[in-house]
C-alpha cells in the first residue's frame, strides 16, 4: 500500500529560499513497495491514498495543496494547512495504440501517461527510450510535470506552446468517492478511449471548457494525479549566439520574420530557428546591448561524428552569496552596480564559447543547481506590443533604477488554457531577472517598481499577463482582472462544475484568495450545473 509521511514546518521556504510561512502538515506519499503489485495497481493504490488524504483534510476543515519541485517564485505552491509533496509518485508509461479513441486526434505511438511527480528530466528519460521528446521545456528540467503545467512553464520555441500545450488529458482526483477520480480531455480533440479511463480507474469527462480551465488550474481543480502528454519524434538542436543592434532585434521580435536576415551563416540566409531568446542589458555604456541565443534543428549526429555537447564535463558555480552581497552593497551606496551587472551578465547571458553545441531538448535544458535567492518577473504580451513594452521596461530600469537585473524577450505560441499566461496568439514574454533587492535611498522598492511598470503598460493600453510561477506585485489591486477579464468567469464556472461543494475550499489557498480566484463565479454557485 502507498504510505504517506508527515512533517511540519515553522517557516517553509521554496526552492529559491523565498520564505512562505508555517505548514501544519507537510505530507509526502510514496508508492507501494509490494513487489507482487503491478505498476497500474500501484497507480490506483496511490489514487486511493490521495483520496483518503483529501477526505481527512475536508473533515478537518483544512486546505490541501499539492506541489512538486517548489521552484515557483510566487506563493502558488504554499498553503499553511496541508501541503502534499508528490515527487515520489513517478510512474510513467507509453500508451499503446489500442487505447486510443476511435476518433482520436492524435497519431499512434505519440501519447504517454506520467504520474504527477515525474520531473521533466524523468519525462525526457522515458521519451528518450522511445525515440521521442517533449516539443519544449523550461530552461531546466527539475519541475514536476504537474507543477510545470499548473503554472504554465514555457521555453522559447517560437512555433510551440508551453509545456501545458502538449497535454492531451488530465487524471484528476477531486474528492474521496469513486466518481471523483476523473480523466478530462477536450471534446473537440479526443485522445484516448473510455475503456482507457476505466482501465486507470477514472470517469471520462470530455469538455473543452473544463479541460482548458483545469490545464492551468493553479491547484484549484483537484489533485493532478496523471497527465497524458503528446510527444514528438526526437530531434536535435544546434545552439548559437549573436550580438544584435536594437533595431534589428526589435524588428525580429515584432515579426519573427527571418526571410531577410542572416542569423548564422552556417544555417543559411532566412533560416527560421526553433528556439530564440533576446537578452538585453539596458545599462551598457553607449546604448543597450542585445544578444540573441538561438537554436536550429539539425540532423542527428552520425555514428562516430564528433560534436560539441551541451552538458559539460565539469560545471563550476560562483559563490551564491556574491550576487546577493553585491546587490545589497549597490542598493546602499549606488556605486557597486557595474560590477554586479557584470556578474549578472555572466550568469544570465548566453556564452559565445558554447556556440555550435548540438543536443536534444533534454540535453540543452539540463540540470540547474540551487543558486540562492533569485529574482525573475515575466510578462506575457501580444507580439504587436513588444517594442513599446520593452521600451517602457528598459526606460524604467534606467530611470527608476538601476535595478540589479537584466531583461530578455522569449517567444511562445499562444495556447488554449483559460488562464494560461501565454494566452496571446503569438505571445512574447518580456522578463527581467537578477537578484531581489531591498528599498533604500538609492533604489526604488521592488514592488513599487513592478507597480510602476503595471501602471505604464496600462497607460499605454498594453494588455499583459504574468507567469504564475514567477514574481510580481501579486497583491496589486485589480491585477488578475486586468490580465484575464472575462476568462476569469469561465475559469471559475468550470471549477464549480468540476469540484463539488465542500471540496472547493479544500483546493484553494491564501494565494488564490489574494488573487480573488477562490470564490464563486459571478452568476452564483447555485446556477452552475455540476458536470454529469
Amino acid at each position: 500500500m502507498a504510505r504517506t509521511k508527515i512533517a511540519s514546518f515553522d517557516n517553509w521556504k521554496n526552492y529559491h529560499d523565498h520564505e512562505q510561512g508555517p505548514v501544519t502538515q507537510m505530507m509526502s506519499t510514496e508508492l507501494s513497495d509490494d513487489i507482487m503489485m503491478n505498476t497500474l495497481d500501484k497507480y490506483k493504490d496511490a489514487a486511493a491514498e490521495i483520496q483518503g488524504l483529501l477526505k481527512a483534510a475536508h473533515d478537518s476543515g483544512e486546505r490541501f495543496r499539492a506541489f512538486g519541485a517548489a521552484w515557483s517564485l510566487s506563493s502558488i505552491p504554499y498553503q499553511k494547512d496541508r501541503m502534499h509533496f508528490n515527487a515520489a509518485m513517478n510512474l510513467r508509461w507509453a500508451i499503446r495504440d489500442n487505447w486510443y479513441d476511435a476518433n482520436t486526434a492524435y497519431a499512434g505511438s505519440q501519447l504517454c501517461l506520467f504520474q504527477c511527480g515525474n520531473t521533466i528530466k524523468e519525462v525526457s528519460a522515458l521519451l528518450k527510450r522511445l525515440g521521442k521528446s517533449l516539443p519544449t521545456t523550461g530552461e531546466s528540467n527539475g519541475q514536476t510535470i504537474a507543477g510545470a503545467i499548473s503554472t504554465g512553464v514555457h521555453g522559447s520555441s517560437i512555433d510551440q506552446g508551453g509545456v501545458q500545450d502538449s497535454v492531451v488529458g488530465l487524471n484528476l482526483i477531486t474528492g474521496p468517492n469513486p466518481e471523483d477520480v476523473v480523466y478530462v480531455e477536450r471534446a473537440s480533440k479526443p485522445g484516448l478511449s473510455d475503456e482507457f479511463s476505466q482501465f486507470i480507474g477514472a470517469r471520462l469527462i470530455r469538455d473543452d471548457e473544463i479541460f482548458n480551465a483545469a490545464l492551468v488550474g493553479l491547484g484549484a481543480f483537484g489533485f493532478i494525479h496523471g497527465v497524458v502528454v503528446k510527444t514528438v519524434d526526437m530531434f536535435y538542436l544546434q545552439r548559437y549566439t549573436k550580438p544584435m543592434d536594437r533595431e534589428e532585434a526589435l524588428q525580429l521580435a515584432e515579426t519573427l520574420d527571418f526571410s531577410n536576415i542572416n542569423l548564422i551563416e552556417e544555417h543559411g540566409y532566412g533560416t527560421r530557428p526553433y528556439f530564440l531568446v533576446l537578452y538585453i542589458n539596458p545599462y551598457r555604456k553607449g546604448g543597450e546591448e542585445f544578444v540573441a541565443e538561438m537554436m536550429f534543428k539539425v540532423p542527428k549526429p552520425g555514428h562516430g561524428e564528433v560534436v560539441r555537447k551541451p552538458i559539460p564535463r565539469v560545471k563550476k558555480f560562483r559563490f551564491k552569496e556574491l550576487t546577493t552581497l553585491l546587490s545589497w552593497y549597490a542598493s546602499q551606496i549606488n556605486v557597486g552596480l557595474p560590477s554586479l551587472l557584470s556578474l549578472l551578465q555572466q550568469g544570465i547571458f548566453p556564452k559565445e564559447e558554447n556556440d555550435g553545441e548540438v543536443g536534444t531538448v533534454a540535453e540543452h535544458f539540463w540540470d540547474s543547481s540551487y543558486q540562492g535567492k533569485v529574482l525573475a518577473v515575466s510578462f506575457g504580451l501580444d507580439q504587436k506590443d513588444i517594442r513599446k513594452a520593452i521600451g517602457i521596461l528598459t526606460d524604467l530600469m534606467r530611470t527608476e533604477g538601476p535595478i540589479p537585473a537584466l531583461a530578455g524577450i522569449r517567444f511562445v505560441k499562444g495556447g488554449d488554457a483559460t488562464l494560461g499566461f501565454t494566452r496571446f496568439e503569438q505571445t512574447c514574454i518580456m522578463e527581467f531577472a537578477g537578484v531581489p533587492w531591498e528599498e533604500s535611498n538609492h533604489i526604488i522598492a521592488q514592488n513599487d517598481f513592478i507597480q510602476e511598470l503595471h501602471n505604464r503598460l496600462k497607460a499605454a493600453n498594453i494588455p499583459f499577463t504574468h507567469h504564475w510561477g514567477k514574481m510580481s506585485h501579486w497583491a496589486a489591486d485589480g491585477l488578475v482582472d486586468y490580465m484575464y477579464g472575462e476568462r476569469l468567469e469561465r475559469w471559475k464556472s468550470a471549477r464549480y462544475k468540476l469540484i463539488k461543494p465542500g471540496y472547493r475550499e479544500v483546493f484553494t489557498s491564501e494565494y488564490l484568495d489574494m488573487l480573488g480566484l477562490s470564490g464563486p463565479p459571478a452568476k452564483g454557485e447555485v446556477d452552475v450545473d455540476p458536470i454529469a
Partner: protein, 119 residues
C-alpha cells in the same frame, strides 16, 4: 611561533578545506521536501558518512558499502577539512576523517517495460 610563521602555516593549511561533487548526468536524485539546506543538495534526500577510520599499516583503501537500491548514486560530495588533515598528519596516517554526503537515484518503476498493459 612568530606571526610570520603562523601566517605561513595558515597559508599552507587553509587550502586543505575543500570539497568536490560527482553527479550522474542522466539520473534524478531522491527528493526530500524538508531539506532546506543552502547548498546544491537542497531539496534532496541526503545521506551522510561522517566518521573517523582507524587504519593499520596493512589496510588498503577503505570501501564504504551503502544501500542505494539497484540504480545507484545520483550525487556524491566529498569534503576534506583542516581538522581531518591535522588528524591524518598527527596520527601518521592511521586515522582518517571521512566526510561524505550522497544522494541516491530516485526510485523508479517501469524501467524494464515502459508500456501500459494491453487491453
Amino acid at each position: 611561533m612568530t606571526p610570520f610563521m603562523l601566517f605561513v602555516l595558515l597559508w599552507f593549511m587553509i587550502p586543505v578545506n575543500y570539497s568536490f561533487t560527482v553527479t550522474s548526468r542522466d539520473g534524478v536524485g531522491e527528493k526530500d521536501p524538508t531539506n532546506l539546506s543552502e547548498d546544491e543538495l537542497r531539496g534532496m534526500k541526503v545521506n551522510v558518512i561522517d566518521t573517523v577510520l582507524h587504519l593499520s599499516a596493512t589496510d588498503e583503501i577503505p570501501l564504504f558499502i551503502q544501500d542505494c537500491g539497484e540504480v545507484g548514486f545520483y550525487r556524491v560530495q566529498v569534503s576534506q577539512t583542516l581538522s581531518g588533515f591535522v588528524l591524518h598528519t598527527i596520527s601518521l596516517g592511521r586515522k582518517r576523517k571521512v566526510n561524505v554526503k550522497y544522494v541516491c537515484i530516485k526510485p523508479s518503476e517501469n524501467i524494464v517495460t515502459p508500456w501500459l498493459g494491453q487491453k
